[in-house]
């Protein structure tokens, strides 16, 4: 069946099976920044924004994305025009292997859209669903707080 969605601001018509998972469809469509870590909604590597809310794309059937707005890491910013989060994650040393990074940044984006100047505790809560085994989260939290300061200006 065919569904129409907006991915990173662009209208997309996708052919999907009824049991296709959004994670797989997005990756098939070339959005490789959406990562697979567990397929059970427990690690956060596949987090995307669905109408601005951070969700695990492995838990959502693709058909449910019909008529919805999707943002993947590719839509957050580009190498030439990175989003402040993408800049601060790089500058703070918050990226090690980078596999959890897209999901973590999108969770942070959803937070900053809702609460532009979050406390450290709010940042930690927003990143709670995004497991990272490399960084110990220290520099990730610093990066989100730094991005919120940039967005403030």
């Amino acid at each position: 069946m065919k569904i129409t969605t907006a991915i990173n601001g662009q209208k997309k018509v996708l052919s999907v099976e009824p049991n296709d998972v959004l994670l797989d469809v997005l990756r098939r469509e070339g959005y490789k920044g959406v990562k697979e870590g567990c397929r059970k909604g427990t690690c956060g590597a596949c987090v995307i924004l669905l109408n601005g809310k951070a969700v695990n794309s492995c838990l959502i059937l693709a058909v449910r994305a019909a008529g919805q707005q999707i943002t993947t890491i590719e839509g957050l910013g580009t190498p030439d025009a990175p989003h402040p989060l993408q800049r601060t994650f790089v500058d703070a040393g918050a990226i090690q292997c980078g596999y959890c990074t897209p999901g973590a940044m999108l969770s942070a984006k959803a937070l900053l859209d809702e609460i532009p100047h979050p406390s450290e505790a709010q940042v930690r809560e927003a990143l709670d669903g995004n497991l990272c085994r490399c960084t110990g989260y220290v520099k990730q939290v610093q990066a989100v707080l730094a991005a919120s300061r940039i967005l403030k200006r």
Partner: protein
């Protein structure tokens, strides 16, 4: 000539060279790559902990439309090998076959299927008929070594390729022992004798990217293996042997890696996927599910540790006797070297004239142990760190003072360095650097040790602080080897081809900084390619805390040769002697008349197009005779809830001497990540098995790891020293800090509530039991 201590780019936290691509989602991991007509592979795994396959019938599965190839023990070569990616010949036993007639743990490989889709492959697995003869399993390493225990490796063709003790007929996967001085005499001299047992548990690496490989044939029908690995060159060698192909017919490509921590120092999937590609002549992708990742890859080896120690009232150690029984699980990758490391990384930290060590590794029918960050030191430092605290307490000395009195110092060696190597004797080594005193002082100050140590809480929730001292190594001496090539481009930029393997640690960046420092450019002028066995020179890979120290030196030497060539060409251009020239910020200039200058682009163009042409380039190799240890002092403050048994870490400080930190932010990141992994392992991570050896919690719901909310404030302090044999004074940083949390937290809990936690993990139930025992003992 003394080494220059002020650097242009070394010691600066430049952004990772792959940072922007990772941040924008364009970085290419193994799976982010598509091939036409790629098949998807799945594995059939044993439901039994110990069984023999009487009969296996794949005919029905083979008839399923969309199935293109099935592997079992019947149609693959039988080659005894180890999955451990180590130097060759490996110090691990050759006890593994691609597929075997016998299965030795729940999850062992029985068959593999390649099909058009994952769904078809999964369906095909259901159609494979296996008739198992179920054998008695053994799950306890003590029982495994008893006379009447079931023999797990009864196949006649398992063997150890090195002359080491290996007795599979009694489930003994490895044995090592040594004695220095006279331990019994040492115990007689002691004022206080302590003799305690400790145990550590299974742990999962939990890299966010599970093991994955894509294999295909290139236009010359060579097998290309694109894989998430720490050891590309070991993959090539081992796959070549297992599949009976020449090394020249195999290329291994390492893309970006989604975390490894030792878990990808293993050749688990590459030969299976490669065999499927050779069978079907099609590209094949084999990726493990999270469940398989927990059950069927590698784990931290559990250990049972007995430590007997003697100390005099003045604080001097008289004897240390460490004996370890390690659980290998069903196969023996790293079975010898992990247990060796438990001795060789802990015992030399303390000046003690009488030292004995014995390590035994037993096979059991449980998941397989392997390399895991810390590599045996994590387990043994738990025992050593707690017992040092207890000895200090027994003689009434403050732990920082006790550690300072006993730890090894610069200029000193340890006979243990010589006695314990990796499958052979170690090396004689005197330390050039040891910043441990400064680590202890700075760490103590940062956590307000002396104030907090005086505190004695009485309520339900009680706080305490504890500390521990640690060491690790930098590369494996007389075994590891690394090489790098640097070439110059037309525009004066450079290509760095490094065999070294960046797993996400940032080693590409660290190596680029080392090259950039010598070549006096910025890192954006260094294009880094790492680990493609066709195009980059050899490197053993990313393990044993080796990359900065060993591969870094290879890069430094290659860059120095390129620099010499640049100066030679420039001298020809400027009509002067090379010795009269200097290289500054992309320009070669005369030392006296700096207006006589040429840019690197001019030099490159001259050398490639104008006169006496040659390609400015160099390859350098590096091996090492020593393994300079990094040192660390860790401090934890905890709060123990005496009603629930819950331990909360309130603050954690790690002061680390890694020599020169080439990139301080990355060095801090290594430390912070290791600490959080260590705290999570100490407090909440645990494998649960049912009575038949099946792991009950192979998922992040029931095998929790720390998330951002669980993490206490962490302070990583880098304490600089200058290791003269390291690149710009660098030693290693990656592993050491994972060893701290178990002992530091246990010691802090003792300070808080007076119980010694000697068995990990420190779950609330375990803490409550210990508190109740303490209560009972007080009443008696």
């Amino acid at each position: 000539m003394p080494q220059k201590r002020t650097f242009n780019i070394v010691g600066i936290s430049v952004p990772k060279v792959d940072g922007v691509s990772l941040a924008t989602g364009s970085a290419q991991f193994t799976d982010d790559f598509e091939l036409r007509s790629m098949l998807h592979a799945r594995m059939l795994r044993s439901p039994h902990a110990h069984a023999r396959i009487r009969k296996i019938d794949t005919s029905e599965a083979a008839r399923l439309p969309g199935v293109h190839g099935i592997l079992t023990y019947k149609n693959v070569p039988r080659v005894a090998h180890t999955t451990a990616g180590q130097g060759h010949p490996e110090p691990s036993p050759y006890d593994t076959f691609l597929f075997d007639r016998k299965v030795r743990y729940v999850g062992d490989a029985v068959a593999a299927v390649a099909a058009d889709t994952l769904q078809i492959a999964n369906q095909a697995l259901q159609l494979i008929q296996v008739d198992y003869e179920i054998l008695d399993p053994v799950f306890d390493p003590h029982q495994a070594l008893q006379k009447d225990a079931p023999i797990i490796h009864d196949e006649p063709d398992a063997y150890a390729p090195l002359p080491v003790i290996y007795e599979p007929q009694r489930n003994l996967a490895a044995h090592v022992d040594m004695e220095i001085g006279d331990v019994e005499a040492g115990f007689h001299q002691a004022d206080v004798l302590l003799d305690n047992q400790y145990s550590t548990h299974y742990g999962a690496h939990a890299a966010l990217e599970t093991h994955i490989v894509i294999t295909y044939l290139d236009e010359q029908n060579r097998l290309v293996i694109r894989t998430s690995t720490q050891v590309p060159f070991h993959v090539r060698r081992i796959v070549a042997r297992v599949l009976q192909q020449p090394v020249s017919r195999i290329r291994v490509v390492k893309p970006r890696i989604g975390g490894a921590f030792g878990g990808k120092q293993e050749i688990i999937l590459e030969a299976i996927s490669g065999a499927l590609t050779l069978l079907t002549r099609r590209p094949v992708k084999l990726q493990l599910t999270r469940e398989e990742e927990f059950m069927c890859t590698r784990t931290r080896h559990p250990q049972h540790i007995r430590l007997k120690s003697g100390v005099k009232k003045d604080g001097s150690l008289t004897a240390l006797d460490l004996s370890i029984l390690m659980n290998a699980g069903a196969y023996g990758p790293h079975a010898l070297t992990v247990v060796c490391n438990s001795g060789s990384k802990t015992l030399p930290l303390y000046r003690c004239p009488n030292v004995r060590f014995e390590g035994n590794t037993a096979y059991t029918n449980l998941p397989i142990g392997g390399a895991y960050r810390g590599y045996g030191a994590t387990q043994a430092f738990f025992a050593m760190g707690v017992q040092m605290d207890e000895m200090a307490h027994a003689i009434g000395m403050d732990p920082p003072t006790f550690h300072k009195r006993n730890h090894i110092r610069a200029g000193e060696g340890s006979p243990v360095f010589q006695a314990l190597g990796e499958g052979k004797k170690g090396v004689e080594m005197k330390l050039n650097t040891c910043g441990l005193d400064a680590c202890i002082d700075q760490g103590a100050r940062a956590i307000s040790w002396h104030t907090k140590r005086r505190r004695r809480d009485k309520g339900v929730r009680r706080r305490g602080v504890g500390m521990v001292c640690l060491m690790q190594g930098s590369a494996i001496p007389e075994i590891d080897m690394a090489a790098a090539t640097i070439t110059m481009n037309d525009d004066g930029s450079f290509i760095l081809l490094a065999g070294a393997t960046d797993l996400g640690t940032g080693s590409d960046t660290v190596l680029a900084q080392i090259a950039a420092e010598i070549l006096s450019v910025t890192t954006d002028q260094i294009v880094v390619h790492s680990s493609d066995t066709d195009f980059t020179p050899f490197d053993v890979g990313a393990y044993a805390s080796s990359t900065t120290y060993l591969s870094g030196n290879a890069v430094k030497h290659a860059a120095e040769q390129v620099r010499q060539q640049i100066l030679r060409v420039a001298s020809e251009m400027l009509n002067t002697e090379p010795s009269m020239l200097m290289l500054r910020k992309g320009t070669v200039m005369h030392q006296k008349t700096t207006t006589r200058r040429v840019s690197l682009a001019d030099v490159a163009h001259y050398s490639l197009y104008q006169k006496n042409q040659f390609h400015i380039s160099a390859t350098a190799s590096q091996h090492t005779h020593i393994s300079p240890p990094p040192f660390a002092a860790h401090f934890a403050e905890v709060e123990v809830d005496t009603e629930t048994g819950e331990i909360r870490v309130l603050e954690y400080v790690a002061a680390v001497d890694c020599g020169t930190a080439i990139n301080p932010a990355l060095a801090e990141g290594q430390t912070e990540g290791a600490i959080v992994n260590g705290i999570s392992f100490a407090l909440i991570e645990e494998f649960h098995f049912d009575a038949r050896g099946r792991m009950l919690n192979p998922n992040f719901n029931y095998y929790s790891i720390f998330s951002a909310r669980d993490v206490p404030p962490i302070k990583a302090i880098l304490v600089p020293t200058h290791e003269p044999t390291g690149p710009f004074g660098a030693k290693s940083i990656a592993e050491i800090s994972i060893n701290g949390p178990l002992p530091a937290i246990s010691n802090a809990v003792y300070h808080a509530v007076g119980i010694r936690l000697r068995h990990a993990p420190f779950t609330p139930q375990h803490v409550l039991d210990a508190l109740r025992n303490q209560g009972r003992q007080k009443k008696l």
